[in-house]
Symmetry: C2
Subunit: 255 residues, 2 copies
């Protein structure tokens, strides 16, 4: 099977033109098939603020009312996505930016309101692996924004880490998939204050223990859960690393 590398980048990189350029250059050097998933992070919060709309976050997830959905569609699906695509084109990578609505590539269901109503947040129902695989074989680089749809005309806001994980799983039928989560740290750290305390390898057992001990907490928990879910579904390798060290072979390897 062919090798596919999926890289997920977050808000901090997307907001910094220099860091983004450097990351995209590194991305362009990856051999084999590749696909990019981006978040948008603070840029949507900033835009909401400018427009006088308050952003509510619960456990690191944005509550998406109608106005907030418009903003994330504009910022993530438009500004961030199209800038990345244009920059990749300049690097001679034939990129194509997609939301889940485009080519029906990612179908989601609006999360039912329980104690918490997340609003227009979508949980992935189906990634259309064959469409993405077709694009890859035609040598296009899919650039996925964290916007999905419900198939009935409604766009939805979906966590970019989740998208990266689900897309990785959906493409195992056709590729040896390697999934790289880029974030601000050099890997999963044992001691948050010590950049050199990278945990080099982690399996489910170690994850469980570190979670119990409070060493791993917050936003890292769902990220790692996505990673282990991907491994369980046939993804060969998940790496958590810093964007600037994308091709350095450093980071935390999940197996």
């Amino acid at each position: 099977m062919n090798q596919l590398t999926i890289v997920k980048i977050g808000g901090k990189i997307v907001e910094n033109p220099e860091a983004l350029n450097a990351l995209l250059k590194d991305f362009s050097l990856i051999a084999g098939y590749k696909l990019l998933v981006h978040g948008g992070g603070r840029s949507a919060t900033d835009m909401a603020e400018k427009l006088g709309i308050k952003s509510e976050m619960i456990e690191g997830r944005r509550v998406t009312d109608e106005e907030t959905l418009k903003i994330v569609t504009m910022v993530y699906g438009g500004l961030v996505n199209k800038n990345i695509v244009a920059l990749l084109q300049a690097l001679k990578l034939d990129a194509i930016g997609l939301t889940g609505a485009d080519m029906n590539s990612m179908l989601a269901a609006k999360r039912p309101a329980t104690d918490i109503d997340y609003g227009y947040v979508g949980d992935i129902k189906k990634v259309n692996g064959s469409v993405l695989s077709e694009l890859l074989h035609l040598n296009y680089i899919p650039v996925l924004s964290p916007i999905t749809h419900d198939g009935e005309g409604q766009l939805l806001n979906t966590n970019a880490d989740t998208i990266a994980g689900e897309v990785a799983k959906a493409l195992t039928f056709d590729f040896n998939v390697r999934l790289i989560y880029c974030f601000e740290k050099r890997g999963v750290l044992k001691d948050e204050k010590d950049e050199n305390s990278i945990i080099p390898c982690m399996d489910k057992e170690l994850f469980s223990r570190y979670k119990d001990e409070g060493i791993i907490q917050g936003g890292m928990i769902p990220k790692l859960e996505n990673a282990f879910g991907a491994i369980a579904a046939g993804v060969k390798e998940v790496i958590i690393t810093r964007a600037s060290e994308l091709n350095n072979g450093t980071g935390t390897f999940i197996q």
Copy 2:
């Protein structure tokens, strides 16, 4: 050759959810291959106003400074484009929204500043007809937003009427192309105040005469110039009509 219908819709329809839904339903009923081009009109101006950015228009064309480019990329390339794609998916049309950067579908050059500096406005250099044709043959419905790129990482704002005309021309190699420009009136009117004074047919000679006589003026002139340019390049038929009468066979026929 296969029949292809290209429909261009403007800002007024895009801003009105009911009118947009009705238009997309009519669009879905068109037989044969089809492609949609949309503008964004006032929605970008409204967003700019909310953000405290002034929009400058010269001869019906927006002056696009850096901030305005961000707004049109967000609103046209994101919000408007992705909403249309999601609505078409709900109508079981497998739509894909594109800017010119996506798949390198529309390459443009930044318009050189002369007396007037339009800023980040792009004049089309090349529509990638083979990519669009490939998508159409795979039964995707391309939905084009009026954002192009220069191939060197810069997004550009391009007039949607021009895009519709250039895309129509670029697809004549593979299709019998019919191009329908939707706008607020039922066709090109002889008397602006009389909705029933539609000019049923127009050739270049009549256009020239009406232009000299001041019957045709303003934004209609570049629209018609695009239309005649398309006909000269092999497009079979250009129709100017009201969106709500898309399939009624009314309007002004350009030949």
